[in-house]
């Protein structure tokens, strides 16, 4: 597995924001796992802040599109999971203050 590729994809996913919180899905801790197989197949495990949120489908699609657009990626699959359920404690410390999260 290429950690460089994982980092590259993680960086690219920062283009996707959660509309409600206005921060990117990576820093919000919504991306649980990024797995790169053979340096070209990507599997992403992600969540949303709220189960059943009407924006869920759009967020999943956006994450898939962005990952797929990373040079060298030939296939990207995104799995939605609520295990564990997202918690504000997953937010990166550097943006927690911006959100007023505590």
């Amino acid at each position: 597995m290429s950690t460089e590729k994982v980092d590259e994809i993680r960086e690219a996913l920062k283009a996707v924001i959660d509309p409600e919180l206005g921060q990117n899905v990576v820093d919000l801790g919504l991306i649980y796992e990024i797995e790169v197989i053979d340096n070209c197949v990507v599997r992403i495990s992600m969540t949303t802040t709220t189960r059943g949120c009407p924006a869920t489908g759009y967020l999943k699609q956006a994450v898939q599109d962005v990952a797929w657009a990373v040079p060298g990626v030939e296939f990207a699959d995104v799995e939605l999971t609520y295990d564990p359920p997202w918690s504000p404690s997953f937010i990166a410390p550097e943006i927690a203050g911006l959100l007023g999260a505590r």
Binding site: I17, P19, T50, G52, P54, T56, Y58, A62, P88
Partner: protein, 452 residues
């Protein structure tokens, strides 16, 4: 599928609801109906049904079509039903109101018009119940907030059946001693099942989820919530079970209603402490205007509960039922409705306009669609007007009531203007909205355009 859970007709419901709110407030400013007329006068019936069906029920139906799928994390079943239901409800309301206008001598209508209006409303609300009921049924076992909605929908069915019974009796199509007795004694049951069961109980259930969602509060199912569900359901069962007493004009009716008042106040008390806990446990320190404005609605609910207790003990409930209903309908239900509309309209507009390009280009946040600084004072003005309006009703100053009704009207119009600005993306910085088409203010987009 992206967008599968975006309710297409919700904004059309909201627009119709707001039009009814403004119409009702204009009537109040003009001095039409209570307190200028008696509480049982046909003019008051016009006002009450314009608010209860036109404003509050349409608002709630529109919100439920969007949020029941969120509550159960499944798409709405029977997606073709919302526009048909809306047409039946609007037509039924218009026919019912024209029947009341006939009773008041404002226009000439045959008496049979009222039960016809009631039947159309039963079909409309029946379709709402079928669509939401199927969605809920398919999602069993249900989480706590969704169970509130189930009870609320049952209360809606009971309210509609009560209403149709009254229409049949008033039109003379159904007669007899029991019918007359129901007409004389059953109105409080109809009102309590509608305002307390259908509207309040459903709003309470949805508020648990919505407030937790928007304030990042823990969504764990707490024991007190099941106490609210149990005592609230018991209250509604007691009210429904009082029907035979109303039919037979027996003295047990007052006892049943008193028991319902006790369990109902218990439910409200625990609900209040639940909401307080939710606000305290929120992870988002800076809360948005929708959550701040909702506090006014909770305060109105608390005030209405205290007023009920005072009126019960002082024996003056029959004299001031109008003031209590006004505070409950406009302060609690209407206030919560306007507060949540402020968020929902922006959120749905964001989904419609910006969600399809998420990740492909820079998009604004949902909060960029609103202008809280300029909207907040209007929520304050609204609650102040409703509070003062209640006071003027209690001390019987009808002219002063009309003045505060005018302030309430102006505040409602200003909030509606803010909702319109959200829809038109007028608060979004120009560079962020460039290249995005504005959605129609209240009409759904054709399906082909909606899906990316």
């Amino acid at each position: 599928m992206p967008g599968a859970s975006l309710s297409r007709w919700t904004l059309t419901y909201f627009a119709c609801a707001l039009a009814c709110l403004v119409a009702a407030e204009v009537l109040m400013v003009m001095g039409f109906g209570y307190p200028g007329a008696a509480i049982e006068a046909p003019e008051t019936l016009i006002l009450v049904h314009l608010v209860a069906i036109g404003w509050l029920s349409l608002l709630l139906c529109g919100a439920l079509f969007q949020f029941v799928p969120v509550l159960v994390a499944r798409p709405l079943l029977g997606e073709e039903l919302p526009p048909v239901a809306l047409a039946f409800i609007l037509l039924g309301l218009a026919v019912l109101l024209s029947g009341f206008a006939g009773m008041a001598g404002i226009i000439v209508t045959p008496l049979e018009v009222m039960p016809l209006g009631g039947s159309l409303l039963i079909i409309g609300f029946g379709l709402v119940i079928v669509s939401l009921g199927r969605t809920l049924w398919a999602a069993r076992p249900l989480a706590m907030p969704a169970r509130f909605v189930v009870v609320g929908l049952a209360a809606l069915a009971a309210t509609a059946l009560f209403g149709e019974s009254f229409a049949l009796i008033l039109s003379g199509l159904v007669g007899g001693e029991a019918a007359l007795s129901l007409l004389l004694n059953g109105v409080p049951l109809h009102a309590l099942l509608g305002l307390g069961g259908w509207m309040s109980f459903t709003a309470m259930g949805v508020s648990y989820r919505l407030l937790a969602m928007f304030m990042l509060a823990p969504e764990t199912e707490r024991f007190p919530t099941s106490v609210v569900l149990a005592t609230g359901t018991l209250t509604l069962v007691l009210i429904a079970a009082a029907t035979p007493f109303a039919l037979a004009a027996e003295s047990g009716l007052a006892g049943m209603l008193l028991a319902a008042a006790v369990t109902g106040l218990c439910a409200l008390g625990v609900y209040g402490s639940d909401m307080l806990a939710l606000y305290r446990q929120r992870k988002r320190r800076n809360i948005e205007l929708n959550a701040v404005a909702a506090i006014g609605a909770f305060a109105a609910l608390l005030a209405a509960g205290l007023l009920l207790v005072f009126l019960l003990f002082s024996g003056s409930l029959p004299d001031h039922a109008g003031a209590l209903t006004y505070l409950f309908a406009f302060g609690w239900l209407g206030g919560l409705g306007l507060a949540k509309l402020y968020k929902i309209v922006a959120f749905l507009t964001w989904l419609e306009c910006f969600a399809p390009v998420l990740g492909k280009r820079q998009t604004p946040r949902v909060q960029d669609l609103v202008d809280e600084r300029h909207a907040a004072p209007w929520f304050g003005a609204y609650y102040l007007a409703v509070g003062m309006g209640t006071l003027t009703l209690l001390v019987e100053l009808p002219l002063a009531f009309r003045l505060f009704a005018f302030i309430q009207l102006v505040a409602s119009l200003a909030i509606t203007r803010h909702l319109y600005r959200s829809r038109e993306l007028l608060n979004v910085p120009a560079d962020l909205r460039r290249g995005f088409a504005r959605p129609h203010p209240f009409w759904p987009q054709p399906i082909a355009r909606k899906l990316p």
